[in-house]
Symmetry: C2
Subunit: 512 residues, 2 copies
């Protein structure tokens, strides 16, 4: 059913017509605002002789005739060169690395190398000094060191790029979902249900008492509650209500994993499509999600340039940048799609020595995922993500829809994982069991509810409402969850997820 190009969004049948738009687009007081360094570099100025620039001093280089200050404000990884005459400088002993200052002057063409323009200073105002104890002096710091000062490391060039990359990526996916008629939702954080059944949840208790941390007195919500491990169950309810929904929501796991890929608190992008029988449609949306971000990068956004320059700043050669561009290109290609059964055959036919033998019925280990992603998806030109579909029913959660056709009589479910070489799994999704009886049977088989023909409401417990969704007006539907931080790390060449998130939380660590 192809639709004609949108012609209008005029509403028919509006019974009220009292509206007389008196809107006025956005109040600003431009006279009071100084331009950011990003806009200073990008745009012309009406009066280049009277420019006010705020920023943090990166370094000061004194010469006989003149002093050069390198200034950044975090709106771009680039710095501007501020030129100060010695006489001015003498009265400014505080202008050291880390200082916040305001410079007024003329924005003029630079005679020296390294920049087109520079700021010839007329006036300097120290806003906030920094002395030699400032922990981020101008030199390279290890990620491990920077991680001990999360509240300050965001001021580094690389970390501020990461912050802006996240912001751009949110905008990109938001635009994609809007364009495709999805409703953005806010799913609950405090929940009763442990969707994945892994049991590794944080519980939530009111500590409105003298000794905080002494435990949940159980009275606030009258029953134990947890931090959500996935918005999926709630999204399914919302998809029944408005069709196509998505959320970008914090998600929590009390896993004691101490790896570069796991956090206890992370952002998950989840979407759910009602009235969908074809899993290909769900995979298309996953692909569009990744593609909306990589299209921006390939289009040469500011952040794209910064990510590419950032590697060079760290002393890496162009190899890593080639790799980065291969990842971005792959994100905008048609993703590969292969069944789990074929993936197992591929692994078994390989000459590679795996630590774990690939065997139908077992989950894919990280080494397997890496092999499949690399062998199928990686070329000189691009690293194209790979969908592995139709895993064995026995190793997947209760809510997944059994496949209608089973190869060789082996039971599988309509599900997929999205794999890339370094980060391994970055997304996973499935069609959902939308029929009442089979869902309850699957829950019984998983010992989530008692056996027998008709469990009572009390026996259905915290998942009664989820079962209810199948009781009335349940249509075929499917959805997915994508690890947003993990995707940013992959596309931004940030190997450890603890550098993707400004204030990372993992076992034993929750600073600031």
């Amino acid at each position: 059913m192809a639709m004609v190009q949108p012609k209008c969004r005029a509403m028919r049948s509006c019974r009220v017509n009292l509206i007389q738009a008196r809107c006025r687009r956005f109040h600003t007081r431009p006279a009071a605002q100084s331009p950011s360094i990003a806009s200073l570099l990008d745009y012309g100025l009406e009066d280049p002789d009277k420019v006010v620039v705020n920023g943090l001093v990166q370094s000061v280089r004194k010469q006989k005739q003149v002093a050069f200050v390198s200034l950044r404000d975090g709106t771009t990884a680039e710095s501007v060169q501020v030129v100060i005459k010695p006489k001015q400088f003498e009265s400014l002993p505080d202008l050291t690395t880390g200082t916040a200052a305001r410079f007024t002057g003329a924005w003029t063409e630079s005679k020296s190398k390294g920049q087109n323009h520079e700021l010839l200073v007329k006036n300097v105002k120290i806003l906030g000094p920094a002395d030699s104890t400032f922990p981020l002096q101008k030199k390279w710091h290890t990620p491990e060191y920077a991680r001990t000062i999360p509240h300050l490391r965001a001021r580094t060039s690389a970390n501020s790029t990461t912050l802006r990359f996240r912001s751009d990526a949110i905008a990109a996916v938001s635009g994609m979902f809007q364009q495709h008629g999805f409703t953005q939702t806010h799913t609950p954080i405090i929940t009763s249900s442990d969707c994945e059944g892994a049991g590794e949840v944080f519980h939530v208790g009111s500590s409105n008492k003298e000794k905080p941390g002494e435990g949940d007195d159980g009275t606030f919500f009258r029953a134990p509650k947890y931090l959500t491990v996935s918005s999926q169950l709630h999204l399914e309810a919302l998809a029944q209500a408005v069709g196509k929904v998505w959320t970008l929501s914090p998600t929590f796991r009390a896993e004691k994993s101490d790896t570069a890929r796991h956090l206890s608190e992370f952002y998950m992008l989840e979407a759910e499509l009602n009235y969908t029988e074809d899993m290909e449609e769900v995979m298309d949306v996953v692909q569009n999600t990744v593609c909306s971000i990589t299209d921006d990068l390939l289009g040469g956004s500011r952040v794209a340039t910064e990510l590419l320059n950032s590697g060079l700043d760290k002393g890496e050669d162009a190899t890593m940048n080639k790799e980065l561009i291969r990842r971005w290109r792959g994100g905008s290609e048609e993703f590969h799609r292969i069944t789990y059964t074929d993936a197992i055959k591929l692994l078994q036919s390989s000459l590679h020595q795996f630590e774990h033998e690939p065997k139908w019925g077992n989950g894919l280990q990280a080494e397997h995922e890496r092999y499949v992603a690399t062998t199928i998806g990686s070329t000189d030109e691009a690293v194209v993500p790979v969908f592995v579909t139709h895993y064995p029913k026995a190793i997947k959660p209760f809510y997944m829809l059994p496949s209608s056709h089973n190869e060789d009589g082996r039971e599988t479910v309509d599900c997929f994982d999205l794999l890339v070489p370094e980060a391994c799994e970055i997304a996973g999704g499935s069609m959902r069991e939308y029929r009442l009886e089979p869902l309850m049977q699957a829950m019984q088989a998983n010992k989530m509810i008692p056996s027998g023909p008709m469990p009572s409401d009390a026996e259905l417990g915290d998942l009664k409402w989820y079962i209810d969704l199948r009781r009335w007006g349940s249509a075929p539907h499917g959805g997915y969850g994508l690890g947003f931080d993990r995707l940013l790390g992959y596309l931004g060449n940030i190997p450890n997820i603890r550098e993707v998130v400004t204030f990372p939380r993992w076992v034993g660590r929750c600073d600031c």
Copy 2:
């Protein structure tokens, strides 16, 4: 400093030029997709003889010659009329209220009243039946009843409008912030600090043990941790890094308030502007936030029409809609600004009998806020929100910047609350104390850290990092927090916040 209109966003100084965009905008398989009812109503169709529509049956009206089905899919509050011949209907006993079904037919001009077009059915497929136990039969339900089934009530017309209103509002504010150069951030949910100092926090414990809910064993993060009550402190760190930041983040209070305005879990929109000395700039951003949403509504968005129709559906007369439009108009006007001192004078000069006597030095009670908002902001044409600024220092948190000029020698801080008649306070903000010594003195005065010239790191405790932000390169800055759910309730005429949020949590209640 006015800037020339943007000319280009081309990056200078890009050292790498390997990018050859091969992007392809968005994969879709239109053949597999049925149009949503919203797009069916808005757009023409290439082939109106072969339309596939999915939805939930709202009601069935049987006549001798024909049966009419009212169908909604939640993409609009409107339903489409589906026309079924008796012969077809006989074989479809399950087509009752609440049933999910797929109809194939011809989209033709309607001869009867109430709609321009209707669907003449060739084929019907029941996707998910619903019997007479479906709790949302076609009749009006009280909010209290609907609240007992949050997972199902989203399917009602009014609740699906609320969901789409939230989505539109997120898009509107996101666009505004992007246009103004703000970076969208994800601030942490699990934190160490209780920003407001009210002590009414939820603690977070790992329940990876046999008896969940038995309490925090204190080992997961090695110290007590809480659900955030505000992102402000973390936003301040991020504003130092990239200038202007915002977040739309879940926020938690373990308050035992059982009112129409309070939830234990709610979304707060918070923004922070570095290098800002003028509180007017911060208030401008608050105004732009509200205005971005009301401009859309005044522009006649689909949701605006639905909100207006929704009141009429509930049997309200046009009075409430006039009120709604007055609120929207007010949101796009220039907001009033009045000092706390003047507000007190206004209250004291009023003939109105207040339960609490208005007195300089005391906080404003809800009755006071209502009076100020109504008297100053409310006219026949519009309800314009009112900023009340410069409250007494003694009744405001430690982090607010003392005003430089005190009227009558009475100490105030540079802060504001945004008031509207019904919802009272919907936003609050301030300039922040950005200087090290005065901040520590304020914390000492509030007994947050020990007195004396130089407390140790251990004595600074969980807020050491926040103090650190002032130690190096701290610039004047300010920001605000806006209760997003409360604003939606106000602009959407949803008096109880428990209807604004699909899965509300408050003391004693956390369903689903």
